[in-house]
């Protein structure tokens, strides 16, 4: 596998409006890439597409060496290798943090025993490690609807880590956090990924954080790739062009 992600001329329309236009890019295994762009640029759409949740797009996409189908969900095998961190966390509210993290491992279990909540030692171990890594061990038995926003976000990340994916797609994983927390969470994801050799693609509205934590930045505007270069080479002019002449201050969310 030479690329973790390989896209050729990806286009997609929502109700006749072209949301992604001829997007081509490659991401190498182990690389950490940030997706920047104004609101409505198509970041969420592109990430959801790579996660196999969008139908009817055109082009050719390979994810972890498998051709991505555009008319159905990918095979279970592919789905469990791709972890997704949802912007709104997408946790099951009435379950404990522990069960929510365990949910990330469902794809690796035998269906029958999992239906009765009988998990293997391996599943319990991986869940405990993910909770430990995200600093949630003490909150494991707490129901997630009784956690703060930042704690819920960490549960979402722990669920993704427990899944043991080879690729993490994260849609604005730090959007509703204060600057200090945002930094810590991004550090958490990228550190965990580096330790495990996981490829990461995350979207963000924070150019400064993206430059620090990603090795490469892809600027997306109106569904097309505006620039694609190593973080160190992304200048303020690139950023200001991306956002139509506005350079956001660090930690500020740009709403165009």
């Amino acid at each position: 596998m030479t690329h973790a992600l390989s896209l050729h001329a990806i286009s997609h329309c929502f109700d006749g409006a072209e949301v992604l236009q001829d997007v081509s890019l490659q991401i190498a295994p182990g690389e950490c890439v940030a997706l920047l762009g104004p609101s409505g640029a198509g970041k969420s759409t592109l990430l959801a597409l790579l996660d196999g949740r969008i139908r009817g797009w055109r082009g050719r996409a390979e994810v972890l060496g498998n051709r991505l189908p555009n008319n159905r969900a990918p095979e279970r095998e592919t789905r469990l290798k791709t972890g997704f961190i949802f912007q709104e966390f997408a946790l099951v509210d009435r379950q404990s943090a522990y069960q929510n993290v365990m949910n990330g491992r469902l794809g690796r279990m035998h269906t029958w025993s999992s239906l009765w909540g009988r998990y293997g030692a391996e599943d319990h171990l991986k869940t405990a490690i993910a909770l430990e890594d995200t600093g949630l061990t003490d909150l494991a038995q707490r129901r997630v609807d009784q956690l703060s926003g930042g704690q819920r976000q960490r549960v979402a990340i722990a669920r993704c880590l427990a899944q043991e994916p080879e690729l993490i797609l994260a849609d604005e994983p730090v959007s509703n956090l204060d600057p200090a927390h945002a930094e810590r969470i991004l550090e958490l994801i990228t550190d965990a990924a580096r330790k495990r050799g996981i490829t990461v693609a995350f979207s963000s509205h924070q150019p400064e954080l993206s430059r620090r934590f990603a090795s490469r930045i892809i600027g997306l505007r109106a569904g097309a790739v505006l620039f694609d270069k190593p973080s160190a080479m992304v200048g303020n002019d690139d950023i200001s062009e991306l956002y139509h002449g506005t350079v956001p201050g660090d930690g500020l969310r740009v709403v165009s």
Partner: protein, 247 residues
Amino acid sequence: MSRILVWIVLGLALLWAAGNANIGLDKLPGAGPRLAEFLGRMMPPDLSVWPEVLTGLAETLRIAILGTLFAIVLSAGLAVLASETLVPATIWRPVRALLAAIRSIPLILVAMLMVGAVGLGPLPGILAITFHATGMLAKFYAEAIDNVGTAPLAALESAGASRAQLLRWAIWPQMAPVVLRDTVFRFELNLRESLILGIVGAGGIGLHVQTYVRSFQYDKAATVTLAIISLVLLFEGFNTVLQKRFS
């Protein structure tokens, strides 16, 4: 304009109801003392009928429990067919219409028909409760299915969960409290409504109410009333505890 029309129609309806019906308003002044006398005759309640009352109450409770149980089973199946998210409109629309039709038939009417069909006793009562309750419960269950948040569902599917796993770990946890609340609510209704089933011969305590009142044994009727009140209050307390525990 249309508001004036509404007021006019309301006014006419009121005049018609008060003016034309032979409701015997002239009896109203004497009703107070009469009612007092009536209540007086209920005192003190004749507790000697306790054993009978208890038997009748137990039968009512059994009718409510079994009727609810069968209604749950039927509703679970019908709810899937009435769910907007699980089946196409060509199925859920007619099923919902059918459920609405079932709901619109009063229980006492269903009970009378059932007595005609299967004879006297608790069986027609159970069948009537089952039929009547399913109309409401299946609709509630279908709404519970339709109100499940889709985000956790998408998340678990993306993580590789199978359909059965999604049902168990994403859909059911979200539905469970709603299903529990609706079921307990319906059971409470079933209990209250089945108290009167005996009047048409469909089993339970209603028969005693009927007999005692018709034969002017108000002190015994008072005992039945007290028993019913205690049962309903008891259940109310139980319900409060249940709701606190599972929210």
